[in-house]
């Protein structure tokens, strides 16, 4: 089975940016996929591990930043589209883990 790759970008409109709670939701979702998932604030990187809350929070991305995702692995496409959906929905996924 060949390794699958996927990538996409999405504008983040969450009013306080990529702060603690959005970061928790983003990393938790990223971790639910087997694929390696990276995040960057620009197409050219630097890319960071989207499963690490320390690294995701450290981007200190403010509102109206475009988030770039890329993934590599069997469920790469699902991972990227789920993350894009989460950001589009303003980090509202009402399920409490």
């Amino acid at each position: 089975m060949a390794t699958k790759k996927a990538a996409a970008a999405v504008l983040m409109t969450h009013d306080i940016g990529l702060h603690a709670r959005p970061s928790v939701k983003l990393t938790r979702l990223a971790k639910s996929f087997d694929a390696a998932v990276d995040l960057a604030l620009s197409e050219d990187g630097p890319w960071i591990d989207a499963k690490s809350i320390v690294k995701v929070m450290a981007t200190k991305a403010p509102r109206d930043t475009t988030l770039h995702f890329r993934a590599e692995g069997a469920d790469a496409e699902e991972a990227v589209s789920a993350l894009v959906e989460l950001v589009k929905n303003d980090f509202r996924n009402d399920r409490r883990a």
């Binding site: 409109t13 009013d15 306080i16 928790v24 303003d90 509202r92």
Partner: protein, 547 residues
């Protein structure tokens, strides 16, 4: 014992959460002068891993136990950080290099904490506290003590501590502990908010305390003081006050679910003042006749960035849904005075209560004001009950007309863009004497009297000055006359008038207010039972026909 105060003298503090408690002193140590024996690198790594696993288990249990989302979210961030290799890899590298587990962990966390403390963004700086909390939690387990605060506290204990983090507060069993006394801390802290939500009496800013562990103290968070070594007489008095308060509360609670009616059958509306989303879960809308005052400052306090239209809209809809068809009145941003918003309110005013606050501020920041109005107009479109929007601190008729015109333009703009929007009732707060004196000049759909500010402006008496507490009196004839004038104008012209503020919660003042013809009061959730009980005990005999 050098600069600590004499234990016999009552110590003054700030009231962070009202109430009265008597109990033994329970000192929660801050000291971290603990020792453990260092093993080899593999043992140290295992010890750290074990301490982290225990800390994660604590957090998991605490999250489960939280009734409100806000408290759970604070803890979930800590748990996520703990589960992240990115946070901990530095510590394990240091251990491999020969460092003891506690130093490796502390250094790794301190590096992160410094990074957050240096952040430009206030919200990020606040995360440093969460990390410090997490650092200490793991250290406690590493030293084998478990969290210090968890040491069983005696029934009714008054917890005495320098300062307290939110998770340490949540670690304590507040069904057992009776009160909280902080040497430092602030009434606006996160912990103070948690204490108020749980009805735990709490004082802050008591300064250095030298209290004997287990000694009985009186924590009077009504008068704002801690009494060490009270006499038998003082203890009897306090016990009497606590018993009275409990009996009163039990009696008041029997009134909660019933509509408010005077002894002679006059119906009165009792509405609730709300100020944050976290309040909704614990509150049954059936105990009130709607939301009489929804303060919106909470939306502007969580971060330096201002709240988006979407975030505001979502919040307003949640309050409207909660009210389930009952009337809701939302006040536009009332920043300034004692409620600064960084980056929005002026910082160098000599007298902020007479400065750029309330509607004065909104009219100077049109962009911010219009975002809030758009969110409100959209919420009005989907509301299942009556929605009113009111402006705070209105002083001149021109100000009101300008604010209303901006609102109506915003609504027209939304309609032109095909966005669902509606015009709610547009009213105003009556809290500046100029507005009350010339009330007939203000063409608002409804009036809401803000008694706290009205009293302070009419009597030229700062409401937060303890030395003037006796003078700050809503029963003063000058105040009552202005309230009566507003109520009379409302009645004559068919506009509704309500009163929000602490005055409504005062049983003596209630007689006066009902006598003025006022029939709608909005009070804090904890006061609803008290005011309904007071209304039921009131007779309007002799007041004549209206009602």
């Amino acid at each position: 014992m050098t600069d600590a105060r004499k234990p016999q003298t009552p110590v003054a503090g700030q009231i962070a959460s009202r109430g009265l408690a008597v109990g033994p002193v329970h000192i929660v140590a801050e000291g971290r002068e603990r020792r453990r024996t260092q093993g080899d690198a593999a043992q140290e790594a295992a010890a750290l891993r074990d301490a982290m696993a225990r800390a994660a288990r604590d957090l998991g249990g605490l999250i489960e136990a939280q009734a409100d989302d806000e408290a759970a979210a604070i803890l979930e961030v800590q748990l996520a950080l703990l589960e992240d290799d990115g946070l901990t890899e530095g510590a394990f590298e240091a251990i491999a290099g020969g460092a003891p587990a506690e130093r490796a962990w502390r250094d790794a966390l301190d590096a992160q904490i410094r990074d957050y403390e240096a952040a430009d963004d206030e919200y990020f700086r606040a995360r440093a506290t969460d990390l410090a909390d997490l650092r200490d939690r793991v250290l406690d387990h590493l030293f084998g003590s478990g969290p210090a605060a968890v040491s069983p506290c005696p029934t009714g204990a008054i917890v005495v501590v320098d300062d307290l983090t939110p998770s340490r507060f949540l670690d304590l069993d507040w069904t057992v502990c009776g009160g909280l006394a902080l040497s430092r801390g602030s009434p606006t802290s996160h912990v103070a908010m948690l204490a108020r939500a749980r009805g735990v009496p709490m004082l802050t800013g008591l300064g250095p305390l030298s209290l004997e562990r287990g000694g009985i103290v009186i924590l009077d968070a009504e008068a704002g003081r801690l009494e060490p070594a009270p006499t038998a007489r003082r203890l009897r008095e306090a016990a009497g006050r606590i018993a009275d308060a409990e009996a009163r509360r039990a009696k008041e609670n029997t009134h909660l679910a019933r509509p408010a009616v005077t002894a002679d059958g006059v119906a009165v509306s009792v509405l609730v003042n709300l100020e944050e989303l976290g309040q909704l879960d614990a509150l049954d809308p059936a105990i009130c006749d709607g939301i009489g005052l929804l303060r919106t400052e909470f939306l502007f306090s969580s971060a330096r960035a201002l709240p988006s239209e979407e975030a505001q809209y979502a919040a307003y809809v949640r309050f409207l849904d909660w009210a389930a068809g009952r009337p809701v009145t939302i006040r536009t941003l009332d920043a300034g005075g004692d409620k600064p918003v960084p980056g929005l309110t002026p910082e160098d005013e000599a007298n902020p209560f007479l400065g750029v606050r309330g509607i004065r501020l909104s009219l100077r920041h049109r962009d911010v004001f219009e975002v809030q109005l758009r969110a409100l107009a959209r919420a009005a479109a989907g509301a299942c009950g009556p929605l009113g929007v009111m402006f705070p601190m209105v002083t001149t008729p021109a100000e009101f007309v300008l604010a209303r015109t901006i609102f109506e333009d915003v609504i027209a703009g939304l309609a032109a863009d095909g966005v669902a929007a509606a015009r709610p009732a547009i009213g105003m707060m009556v809290e500046v004497p100029a507005a009350a004196i010339r009330i007939a000049d203000f063409d608002a759909d409804f009036y809401s009297i803000g008694s706290n500010d009205l009293i302070q402006y009419v009597l030229a008496c700062s409401r937060d000055n303890a030395a003037l507490r006796d003078m700050f009196d809503g029963g003063d004839p000058a105040v009552v006359e202005l309230i009566a004038r507003t109520v009379a104008h409302g009645r004559a012209t068919g506009r509704s008038v309500s009163l929000c503020g602490d005055m409504a919660g005062d049983a003596d003042a209630l007689d006066l207010l009902l006598g003025c013809g006022l029939r709608a009061f909005s009070v804090a959730p904890a006061v609803i039972g008290r005011i309904k009980a007071a209304i039921a005990a009131t007779r309007l005999a002799g007041e004549g026909g209206h009602g």
